[in-house]
């Protein structure tokens, strides 16, 4: 092993420091969520009482978030994958303009979009008060991630040639889409799906204005717990959130790794 330079050690020190800044509070919150009394510290013993309380108090919110994430996934798959195909295929300025436009809901802060949605749909009582209202916001926000992930894969594989080959063998459009296009975009669809579910579960900026007392989501509950309950419950609730979201993030990282040489999917 060659000798490391001073620069190496300085950079390593900064990297470790920044990692500690990000990692230490995560560990702290996970520990606090299972500690009997945080003011006494770990010597007060470990417990799952706080997690039990969180599940008792916030189970509907956790469940609604999972349902919303799955609903969001279904809609972005059904709408987003064909849209990506259409955008990859449609030539010209209009398609590029459309591609730009679809990303706007991500570029504009969620609070502003939510305000517009609330003002526009306030008269539609049934819709406004249902979870579908939140779903609409989540789909709007996550759709660009699905479209872009699939578009990135479509751009890097020579889909046009493959499709032409299939067409020359007599395959109709539907056959080509399901037997040629979709299998070739699998990695992009998977990356998009993981991103959509992760973002939907954690979405707060839009959801806070869109939710009603009957349609609270997991992050809305988190804000509520942080503001009004003891530190241990807030921590335990955060722990529940991590348990839901970390496997998704790890899967995303594993998926991105072998493709490091290609354009990155997370944009």
């Amino acid at each position: 092993m060659r000798k490391r330079s001073l620069g190496f050690w300085l950079q390593l020190a900064l990297t470790l420091l920044v990692s500690a800044f990000l990692g230490v509070p995560i560990v702290q919150s996970m520990l606090a969520g299972v500690t009997r009394n945080i003011f006494v510290g770990l010597k007060s013993g470990l417990t799952v009482d706080w997690i039990d309380q969180v599940l008792a108090l916030y189970w509907p919110a956790i469940l609604l978030s999972i349902e919303l994430a799955l609903g969001c996934l279904a809609v972005t798959l059904v709408i987003g994958v064909p849209a990506a195909y259409g955008l990859a295929r449609a030539p010209g300025r209009l398609a590029r303009l459309m591609e730009e436009a679809l990303v706007l809901p991500v570029a504009v802060p969620g609070l502003a979009t939510a305000l517009a949605l609330v003002v526009a749909y306030n008269g539609w009582g049934g819709f406004r008060q249902s979870a579908f209202f939140i779903l609409a916001g989540h789909v709007l926000f996550t759709l660009p991630f699905m479209v872009r992930a699939v578009l990135a894969v479509m751009a890097s594989s020579d889909l046009a040639t493959l499709e032409e080959g299939a067409a020359s063998l007599g395959a109709g459009f539907v056959r080509r889409f399901f037997d040629v296009v979709l299998p070739n975009c699998r990695s992009g669809i998977l990356a998009g799906a993981l991103t959509v579910v992760t973002l939907s579960i954690g979405e707060f900026n839009l959801t806070w204005l869109l939710h009603t007392p009957l349609t609270k989501t997991l992050p809305v509950g988190l804000a509520d717990a942080y503001a009004s309950l003891r530190l241990e419950i807030g921590s335990a609730y955060t722990l529940v959130f991590f348990v839901l979201i970390v496997p998704l993030l790890v899967a995303l990282q594993l998926l991105a790794r072998p493709r490091a040489a290609r354009p990155m999917p997370e944009e």
Binding site: S5, Q11, L12, L14, T15, L16, V18, S19, L22, V24, I26, S29, F39, V78, I79, P82, Y85, G86, R89, A90, P91, M98, V103, L104, V106, A107, V108, P109, G110, L111, A112, T113, L115, A116, V119, A120, A136, G137, V139, L140, L143, V147, R148, L199, G202, F204, N205, L209, P219, A223, Y226, G234, T238, F241, L249, V250, Q253, A260, E266, E267
Partner: protein, 274 residues
Amino acid sequence: MGAPRGRVIAGLMILPAALLFLAFFVLPLVRLVVAGGAGPDGWAGYGTALADTRHLASLMETLVLSIATTLATLVLGGIPGLFLARNRFPGRTFLVSVLTLPLAFPGVVVGFMVILLAGRQGLIGQVSQLLGGERIVFAYSMAGLFLGYIYFSIPRVVLTVMASAEKLDPQLEEAARSLGASPWRVFQDVILPGLKPALISAGAITFATSMGAFGTAFTLATRIDVLPMVIYTEFTLGVNLAAAAGLSLLLGAVTWAALALARSAAGAGVAAAG
């Protein structure tokens, strides 16, 4: 494939997404603009709201905070990102995971992380007290917000810089070194220019996300007057729709412009989140 037929199919495939976009984004925005102008002062309400000194002060504060966050994060995320992309050592993968994990944390969770670090029972306070000083607590101030914004921006910068650093051509660096350039010169003249597009796009994401972030400020304190908090209070407490709408549109225009500028400068896909 017949070109017209292919075009019709492509159009039909985009149609559902386009309709959704119209119904839940374009139309609501138009309604918001109209509703903001329908207040007691009519369209002049926009002018009054945007000229309000409190609103202007909040806009300036948010701008300064976002620019400071962007600069700090480019350094604090850029150096580890470059370092991790260029060096192999035991534990590297673990560090990459820790540095990218908070990518999908919502603002509220980041706010809670800041409370755990710098709040009343926070780690920083405990350590400072242990060292004989007084208990340092700054989570509920602008400094706490700054800490939170750096927290959620670092993963994005690390990822972007790492991806870009892995694509740098090592031959350029070798050439510079063989011509006698010092490590610092190599960094300044070869590596930094190569990373420029990534730094611009990561900086733009950080800036835009900080401008529009709501959850972190909401968790830390309602008294910090960053623009999203002002919009929220004007809408819910003040029911001043003209102000809320005007400031929202202004905020959206600023973040969109930052991302669009960066994209034309860097040529990469840029989007904010969180």
